[in-house]
Symmetry: C2
Subunit: 427 residues, 2 copies
């Protein structure tokens, strides 16, 4: 599936407003690490609103709309208003870039008012704090009644905070364009291994299963659903090999054993770790388990307070296994609920986050970025449980980038199996 | 799937209480049309609570528990109480059979009180009204504070009302044991054709699709889901033929065309017409279309008042097609909402009921029985739309009993095609 074909609403649309020479183009370069706009100190280098699709790590696919030409010296009067409204119409979030040397004037107030009319959230960006370091202290937010972040596009200071503010201001329903669509071609078979146990709701499928089936169908592929016991039989009933096998985490070992080695393999939890969060970062978090030492503090972070099954994973199974992996005692704190992670993240050597079934992408990604900002490795239940079961490497087979992070550190399949046998002995 | 393996909660458990010789056994025979119990006028012929699995038309599978031996002259004291509680523990509905010659006494009050403690609904049955015709007028309900039906097991008078009262008193979650389980064997492939259109909820599957997938998996079979455009390709990707193809009604023609003739074929709507209602009766309703004459009154019965898509089917498409099939005007009344069908059913020549997505089996079956009681043919949207599309015969291939009702009247596939072409010309 072409990224450019992503419908709006999945690719976050960010419009940059700001007076000529406020530094919109160089800010785009700073947040994307790409030389996409022609950066120049001469006012008016960019002359028309241009929407560019790009990947913004760790946010994923975004659309950046540069509104050069709609600023204080560009189109005038009715035409400027009309073009500004056109841009706002397809915008999820407006970044208003302010040059502290010029401050806030009629142009900035006009953008905020029009965005408010269109119900588009505005995030103020004070740029050039390398040139105007005292600008950081000015009460911008009070002047314009929108949140502000201070950055230097030149030195990249504040760029991470800006990305976190962007995530925080993203729409609630912001999602990646697809769950499995980039892994498959039209007509491919995708095998979904779904154990039926007492935890499953009677006569229904849980939402992640529904979402993956829908995504397979929307990508013109074929979804084959089977219990783990019938997987081998179902594979033999197919005239062609499936492209991908996705298993529920509770059937990891049976599903790995029955899936041919040349078929891509993963789990629903790994798919959703990617869909809702940032898989490479979470894999790096799993890798960090080997650096833990007895006495280290670990934060178990739960999004909500009412999930007994996840409680059991987070409060009993994972702590038991981590103690075992470390060969000594560890200190576990549990943070339940709350809209973000607690402030004292730097106290911890590892954050273990729940599966985030009650969080949207915006919320989970923000939490991951909080951990990154604090320099603390973060993993989630799904990725860690795959690690514990010794199948993380296999379950990352569709994701070379995340796999590279795991392999970089020479955590080999054999090591994972050794970890697993230790886990099994003690559960 | 063996009917005897049906778990409780799906097979309705009905316990018959009543004093010795009140006619419990002959009442069982009357409602089941089977000689299952030994009927005798000598008190105490049946001597122990016996649970018997049986089919009760149109209710489907039930379990009848005859409590002979727990009556006024059987076990005494504590033992009787204990055994009665044991029976009530596995009972969904208690029928209390009263002999009008003996009336209500301590035994009847005890059964009602114990059932109330166990939260089991009680339905009173005045038997032998052939012998005691005046018993019909006695205010039984006031005496015992439970609803009463007057019947004669001998002449079968009131037996239909009794069945309707049983349906009305059934638990809300009463369901058939399976949706497709009786059509397939373990390991079979079941192909589900699911168009993805704007009506489908984003990222989800509608409940009937989820229910069929679950049912396929619970019966150890393999569910293959595919859009209608990929059906042919998916069939070619299988090493074995599927046992059954189930399509969404919106893809009837494409799915029929691409399904091999020796593969069972049906639709989600037909499956749910059977699961929630009584398929043979609804097929007889479709057959009755050919008996309609211009000027006839037709009732469009909708369970709820807020379903625009079904509105379009029930208020536009079906009336237009029925007028066309009849070759003249028809009078359409619409009944929306309400817990049962309106009282004046006998005014109508046909009742066309909605898909009942918001009704449970108990409610839909009661409405079908109301129509039967009034002697008016009843069909639902799903069965009628299959008829309109000319695929009803094909879509009944898994259901010989319903198919026989259609074929008895020589509605041939060719006739259906003729009906369809008329429908197409005018939609």
């Amino acid at each position: 599936m072409s990224l450019n074909a992503t419908p709006r609403g999945q690719r976050l649309h960010i419009a940059l407003f700001g007076r000529r020479n406020a530094g919109k183009s160089s800010l785009i370069n700073a947040i994307t690490n790409q030389e996409v706009a022609i950066v120049s100190g001469i006012p008016g280098t960019t002359t028309d609103p241009v929407a560019k699709a790009m990947e913004l790590l760790p946010l994923g696919p975004v659309m950046i709309i540069d509104t050069a030409g709609l600023d204080d010296t560009g189109e005038l009067g009715a035409l400027r208003v009309q073009k500004t409204l056109e841009v706002l119409n397809k915008t999820d979030l407006a970044l208003l870039v302010v040059d502290p040397g010029r401050g806030i004037g009629e142009y900035e107030r006009d953008v905020v008012n029009r965005a408010r009319e269109q119900k588009v959230p505005v995030l103020g960006v004070i740029n050039k704090i390398d040139l105007y370091p005292e600008a950081v202290n000015r009460p911008w937010q009070q002047e314009l009644d929108v949140p502000f972040v201070a950055v230097s596009a030149l030195t990249r200071r504040g760029i991470n905070e800006l990305k976190m503010a962007v995530v925080k201001a993203a729409p609630r329903d912001w999602a990646l364009p697809t769950i499995v669509g980039d892994l498959i071609e039209p007509g491919d078979l995708v095998m979904l291994v779904i154990p039926i146990d007492k935890a499953a709701p009677r006569g229904r499928l849980i939402l992640p299963q529904q979402q993956v089936i829908r995504d397979v169908l929307e990508n013109d592929a074929v979804a084959v659903m089977v219990k783990e016991r019938e997987l081998k039989h179902a594979l033999a009933s197919m005239a062609v090999k499936p492209k991908l096998v996705v298993t529920d985490a509770s059937a990891y070992l049976k599903a790995v054993a029955d899936t041919p080695p040349d078929v891509l393999f993963t789990s629903f939890s790994i798919l959703f770790a990617r869909y809702k969060g940032d898989l490479p970062t979470l894999v790096a978090g799993a890798r960090a388990v080997k650096d833990l030492k007895p006495g280290d503090k670990i934060l178990i972070a739960e999004a909500c307070t009412h999930h007994p099954i996840q409680d059991d994973i987070g409060r009993v199974k994972i702590p038991r296994w981590l103690r075992q992996a470390v060969g000594g005692e560890l200190v576990f704190d549990v943070a339940s609920g709350g809209s973000t992670l607690p402030e004292n993240l730097r106290d911890y050597k590892l954050i273990v986050h729940c599966g985030a079934c009650m969080l949207n992408r915006r919320e989970m990604l923000y939490r991951i970025m909080q951990a990154q900002e604090a320099g603390v490795p973060v993993v989630n239940y799904g990725v860690l449980m795959a690690h514990i079961h010794g199948v993380l490497k296999r379950a990352l087979s569709p994701f070379p980038q995340a796999l590279a992070i795991l392999e970089e550190e020479q955590v080999e399949f054999e090591d994972e199996l050794a970890l697993l046998s230790r886990y099994r002995e003690h559960r």
